[in-house]
Structure formats: C-alpha cells, structure tokens
C-alpha cells in the first residue's frame, strides 16, 4: 500500500515537472522566423501559399461556391469583405511580385466585376446582414458606406497598379456619392446600416477618397483633416483613448472600442494621419494585445469596457479572453506598424490553433474561413500600396 502510494506520488511529481518543462517550450514548435510570414521585399512563403489557395477559389467556381455558402450561412458581409481583402492583397502582391502582375490584375478584375454585378443584380442588401432590412436608412436614397467605401478602395487599388478607364468612371461616381454625403451630414457620420455607422467603414472610405485624389488629381484633404479632427474630439473612448467602433448618425456610441475593428482602423489611418494611426496602434497593443508563453493573441475589448460577444468578435475563449476576430485582425495592425515580436507570436498562435491545412502548395486555415484567410494574406502583403500613395510616386 505504502509503495503504491509512493509510486503514484512519484508519477504525479514527474507529470508536474514534465508540464513545467514542456509548456514554456511549446511555442518553439510553432514559432518560425518572421520572414516566413512577411518580408520587406517580395512575397513570403506563407503569402504565396495563402494566395495560391485564394487564386484557386477564383478559378474553380464550385469550390468558391462551397466556401461562400458556408460563410453566408453566418454572415453575408464576410462574402463581400473576403473579396475586398483579396483585391487589396493582390494589389500589394502586384507591387511586390511584378512578374505575376498580369495574373493578379486578371483576378482583381474578375472579383470587382462579379461584385459589382451582384450588387446591381441583387441589390445592396445581398452583402449586408439581414437586419439591414428591418428599418429604413435615414438618408435616402439608401447607401451603405460599408459597401461604397470598400468597393471604391477596390477600384482605386486596381487603378494604382494599372489604369483601367472603365474603373476610373466607376471610382469617381462612388467617391462623389461618399463625399456629397459627408458634406450634407451635419456630423460627418454616414450609415452602413440604418442609423448605424462604423469607424472601420469611415476609415476605409476616407482611404479610397485619398487614393482617388492621388489617382485623379482631386483634393479632398480638407475633408479628411476635418473628419479626423471630429473623430479625435467626439469618437474616442475617454478611458482607453481608443476610437469607438460604432455609433449613431448623431454620434451616440453603440459599441465601444473593439479589437475586431481597431487594428484595421489603425492600419487605414496610416494613409491619412501617420501619428494618429501610430498612437491608436500603440494604445490597442497595450489594451488588447497579449503574449502568453510565447503565443500572441488579442482581446476584443479593453479591461475598462464590457461588450457582448457578437458576429465580429467571434466566440471568446474563456479565461484568456481570446477573441478570434480581434486576434485575426491584430495581424494587420502588427504588420502595418512593424511590431515584429507581436507579429511572430501571433503567427505562432496561428500555426498552433489555426489548424493549417496544406495541399499542393496551397494553404488554408481550417479554424478560419475565406475572409479570415484573405485578411491574413493582406497582413502578409500590405505595405507597398500605401507607400506608393503616400510618397506620391507616379500611378
């Protein structure tokens, strides 16, 4: 009896010691050099593999249909955003890998044309969540800044790589609609859903306006400056200093600062106001970013704000309060602001808990979906497009 107890205690002690050795080492199995995810020049191996999978989706309609069906069952927005992130990624890839530019341009055109066709044929509600139909938009005719902004940025990104006259008119029309609405709105806040405005959508739309200025020689710098000044004054959470994610047309907050929004907002702001963008990233990193035992992840809300789990945050993993949505978007923030340590630790988590699946040089993450993988591809390739517009290099 005594010897049995001794054996069990020895076994338990060995398990504790083994766990104490293994757990701090676990991340080493999944940590790769940062260049595996993102490189300053050219394309990283991961970007190539993710891109190969996305390009396959756009050459095999049945496969694309299957992927989109799964996403649309949860959120029709993801179908649309998956297209946007892929087009923006391909624009950056064309600048990083000029030899493949014709293939990237062809795919960008295919995505843009199909998106515009669906918007025209099915109406704007096709890419919105169903509650958009529950109320009327306050400003008529109804427009969603979510759609207008992202479509405009898709068109502009394509034109930065190579001019296409057909898209020039489409971009001008889209930008004019957004600018006109900004000018008519007393608080410069535009609806994405009925009386529901999103920070993410405003920043993306302003990026599109900035790029249209770069492409066509227009000047909306006063509008952009004015909007940022208003946002700094009225749309910042006083406790964290982070921009809130959604609000009514009168500026009343709906949601506070959110990880699923702020990382992309900081990235978008980089094109508009570098200092403000860096400040927002620094605050988001402090309030939301974490590295535990070598694995990086992000919370959806700062400690000072309690929000509700929703379709944007994704399921929240208890104890560590890990948000899939925020952690995925954190790649974009970390990549934008060259936060190598955080980015490498996020990449380690991705390979540990994202369930990568590789087939013939094509990579997808099973725990993700098409829009998630497209956002990761964007994080792995972003940089050259913004750089070109910021430096004013020839379109």
């Amino acid at each position: 009896m005594k010897s049995r107890m001794k054996r069990i205690l020895a076994g338990l002690a060995a398990l504790v010691v083994a766990a104490a050795i293994w757990l701090p080492c676990l991340h080493l199995v999944f940590t790769r050099p940062l260049s595996n995810f993102r490189q300053d020049q050219g394309l990283s191996p991961k970007a190539r593999q993710l891109a190969a999978r996305h390009l396959q989706l756009w050459t095999e309609p049945a496969l694309r249909e299957q992927e989109l069906k799964k996403m649309r069952a949860s959120n029709a927005e993801w179908d649309f955003m998956g297209r946007s992130y892929l087009v923006w990624s391909l624009a950056n890839m064309a600048l990083r890998d000029p030899a493949s530019k014709p293939l990237y341009l062809r795919t960008m055109d295919q995505i843009i044309d199909e998106t515009l066709r669906l918007e025209k044929q099915e109406g704007m509600y096709f890419f919105l969540m169903s509650y958009a139909r529950d109320r009327h938009y306050l400003v008529q005719p109804a427009h969603s800044l979510f759609l207008d902004g992202e479509i405009a940025l898709m068109l502009a990104s394509r034109r930065v790589i190579e001019e296409k006259l057909e898209y020039r008119t489409l971009l001008t029309e889209r930008v004019n609609v957004i600018v006109e609405r900004f000018q008519k709105s007393p608080r410069m806040l535009l609806e994405s859903y009925p009386d529901e405005c999103w920070m993410f959508d405003h920043c993306v739309a302003l990026d599109a306006i900035k790029m249209a200025d770069y492409l066509d020689g227009s000047d909306h710098s006063a509008l952009i400056r004015g909007w940022i000044a208003m946002a700094r004054k009225k749309l910042v959470d006083p406790k964290s200093g982070l921009l809130i994610s959604s609000f009514n047309t009168d500026g009343t907050p709906l949601d506070g600062p959110e990880g699923s929004s702020i990382w992309m907002v900081a990235h978008s702001l980089q094109l508009l106001d570098e200092d403000f963008a860096r400040d927002q990233y620094r605050r988001a990193r402090k309030e939301l970013g974490e590295i535990t035992l070598g694995f990086g992840y992000a919370h959806e809300w700062p400690k000072s704000w309690k929000g509700e789990t929703d379709v944007d945050s994704g399921p929240i993993i208890p104890w560590f309060e890990i948000s899939a949505g925020s952690s995925g978007m954190a790649f974009i923030g970390a990549s934008t602001f060259d936060d190598g340590k955080f980015l490498a630790s996020l990449a380690a988590t991705l390979d540990f808990a994202g369930f990568p699946s590789r087939t013939r040089g094509r990579l997808k993450y099973c725990a993700s979906n098409q829009v998630g993988d497209a956002a990761l591809l964007y994080a792995a390739t972003l940089g050259p497009l913004w750089q070109k517009v910021k430096t004013g290099a020839q379109p």
Binding site: R7, I8, A10, G11, L12, A14, L15, V17, A18, A19, I21, W22, L23, L26, V29, K69, K70, M71, A73, S74, N75, W78, V311, G314, P315, A324, G325, G328, F352, A353, F355, S357, C366, A367, S368, N369, G372
Partner: protein, 119 residues
C-alpha cells in the same frame, strides 16, 4: 496467437497506474485517437471557432460536436502527449538513479560486513 504476440510486446502489457509504461500507453492511446480523428477529416469542422459552420449539410450542432472532439484530441496530442512522454522519461531516469543508489548502498553494506564474516 496474435494475442500472445501482442502481449509479448512490452508496451502493450497491462501497466501499473502512473508507471512509466502506463504513461507511454496513455500517450500512445491519445496519439492513435487523434490520428483517427485527423484522418476522418474532422479538422475541417474547426471553422466553428470563428463562427462559420463546418459543413452546411451537417448543420451547426453536429459541426460543433465534431469540432469539439477534434480540438480536444488535438490539444491532448500537442500538450498532454509530450508531457506524458517526458514524465515517463523522468520517472525512468529517477528510478534508475534510485536503483543505482540502492545497489551501491547494498554493495557497501556487503563489503563492510565481509571482515566480520571472515572474523
């Protein structure tokens, strides 16, 4: 015949609870279960982690259930299996150390008794 052969393989013999062999048997069991789940394609269902259904045909409930099975087995495989193997190694090394100490103690005692026995 097969049963006899099976039993002759030391790793598959019934082991004492928390002995090195018991820990290795558990590690092997988990690895086999994970391999089966992996080969069955349950990895695809982990998309429920981001709120996307693993398969439209299977529906949410079944997709979530299959994802849960896969995730638990995966975590057991990458976290628990190495811990069990390491613990088995630690126990073996420790036991050998204890055994060695015991042997040298017995040898010392035997050699110190010899002159008495001779006298």
């Amino acid at each position: 015949m097969i049963k006899l052969l099976w039993q002759k393989l030391a790793l598959f013999r019934r082991a004492e609870f928390l002995s090195p062999r018991d820990l290795l048997q558990r590690a092997l069991g988990i690895s086999v279960l994970f391999l089966l789940a992996h080969l069955a394609g349950l990895r695809e269902f982990t998309s429920v982690l981001n709120g996307t259904v693993g398969s439209v045909a299977a529906g949410w409930k079944l997709s979530s259930f299959l994802a849960l099975i896969y995730i638990l087995l995966y975590l057991a495989f990458v976290i628990l299996v190495p811990v069990l193997v390491l613990a088995a190694v630690i126990l073996t090394v420790w036991r050998r150390g204890v055994q060695k100490e015991e042997n040298s103690r017995i040898a010392q005692e035997t050699s110190s008794r010899r002159p008495d026995a001779a006298g």
